[in-house]
């Protein structure tokens, strides 16, 4: 099961390693609103209405990888995580077994780790802080779980399939808020 732990906890380790955080308080005074000014939110047509969930996202690629039928995909996007284990475990296990040539035992374990579909942040008060950084290579994490040295697929190990060999973004992420890279210009 080391690969499963790898999938969920590599990010934690990466973040820990990267926590050479310079605790500097940015001076963004030119961006601040006048202090103490009341923020008046604009009127929204959504006020007082009961709204219905259209899409959701927790762990990368769960719906894409582990739910196969179109009707199930729609249902998954409109479901609440609290019901994931009961409503989607069987679907996910069958999909993982069928698509990735993974044994039932491993498929069940993998489904148990990714359902409910919520992104774990870890211990925010301590040194460990998981979650998902912009630079995390989630494609390689998933490919590694399936095709890495101890991959879950019967086809593993398959080194040429255990990574897409794209290790980072095309533009540098920013050191400051909003962190996402500058958009591409027309």
């Amino acid at each position: 099961m080391r690969t499963l732990h790898f999938y969920l906890w590599t990010v934690t380790l990466l973040v820990t390693a990267a926590l050479t955080v310079a605790a500097c308080d940015e001076d963004r005074s030119e961006l601040l609103e006048p202090d103490g000014a009341q923020v008046q939110l604009s009127k929204t047509p959504l006020e007082s209405m009961t709204l219905t969930q259209q899409d959701r996202f927790g762990i990368p690629a769960i719906n894409t990888l582990f739910v196969s039928a179109a009707s199930d995909k729609n249902a998954f996007n409109r479901a609440a995580p609290e019901n994931d284990a009961s409503d989607f475990t069987a679907i996910a296990v069958a999909t993982i077994m069928g698509r990735f040539a993974v044994s039932e035992a491993n498929a069940t374990a993998l489904a148990g780790l990714v359902l409910p579909d919520v992104q774990p942040l870890g211990d925010l008060s301590g040194a460990l802080f998981a979650g998902r950084r912009l630079s995390d290579d989630v494609v390689d994490l998933v490919l590694g779980v399936l095709f890495g040295p101890t991959g879950l697929s019967d086809a593993a190990p398959a080194p040429g399939l255990a990574s897409d060999f794209v290790d980072g973004n095309d533009k540098p992420f920013l050191a400051e808020f909003p962190y996402l890279a500058t958009p591409h210009t027309p």
Partner: protein, 239 residues
């Protein structure tokens, strides 16, 4: 049942990786991603289609958390998204945080745009605060009374310079950015067609693409102090 050889199994496995993306034959043809266009219904609703969610400790303040969601599947051409937001005033965008392990949100951060002109939208923020309703239904947080939520507002950025607002510990952004996702989707398709492996180095199919993003940063302590079992996800909702 026929026994597959290793090559067949590999192809089947990779087919699985692709099949989930619904092949995404949109105007730009072939994009997928961590969650871009991940179901038939949501593929038809660009403004409510979540592409990715990120959560990490702020690089500039270790006491702060950063949450980011990216929206829309095919901000493929740079001409799309400049000067015109894809945020829809009829959509409520939410970050949800569970702090006790039951996968039910204890806090939400809500965001919604206002303004008729897509070039002059404001993104309004409420929270983090305890929601009135949990699960697949949602309601706008109360802005008054003793449970009133924190409020914020920022103009939606439709150009290269991010418009940022920071107030009482909460920093917010909404607008167009580079798509942070990276993946050699082209070779992935080639592998499905019979290629035996990815290329080293690969080619990032998401290079040059933009998305719309909502990014917030605020003190971790607002989410319940020393909890070490925090979970986050994002949702989009409509009337």
């Amino acid at each position: 049942m026929k026994r597959m050889n290793a090559a067949e199994r590999r192809r089947l496995a990779l087919l699985g990786l692709l099949a989930g993306s619904a092949t995404a034959i949109a105007s730009f043809g072939w994009l997928t991603a961590a969650d871009h266009i991940d179901s038939p219904l949501i593929a038809a609703d660009q403004s409510a289609d979540l592409a990715d969610v990120y959560s990490f400790r702020s690089p500039t303040n270790p006491d702060h958390i950063v949450l980011a969601m990216t929206i829309s599947n095919i901000q493929a051409a740079p001409e799309i998204g400049f000067g015109r937001s894809i945020f829809d005033p009829q959509v409520l965008y939410q970050f949800k945080i569970d702090n006790d392990g039951d996968a039910v949100e204890d806090f939400v951060i809500q965001a919604f745009v206002t303004g008729k002109d897509a070039s002059k939208q404001k993104m309004n923020f409420l929270g983090p605060a305890a929601p009135e309703v949990t699960g697949t239904d949602a309601r706008i947080l109360s802005r008054s009374g003793k449970n009133k939520a924190r409020k914020g507002k920022v103009r939606v950025s439709t150009g290269t310079v991010p418009i940022i607002k920071s107030k009482r510990g909460m920093t917010v952004f909404a607008g167009v950015r580079d798509d942070p996702f990276f993946f050699d989707f082209g070779q992935f398709v080639a592998v499905l067609g019979g290629a035996s492996s990815f290329n080293d180095p690969g080619t990032d199919a998401f290079a040059g693409l933009n998305v719309y993003a909502i990014v917030v940063e605020f003190p971790i302590a607002w989410l319940g102090g020393d909890s070490n079992d925090l979970k986050v996800w994002a949702t989009t909702s409509r009337p």
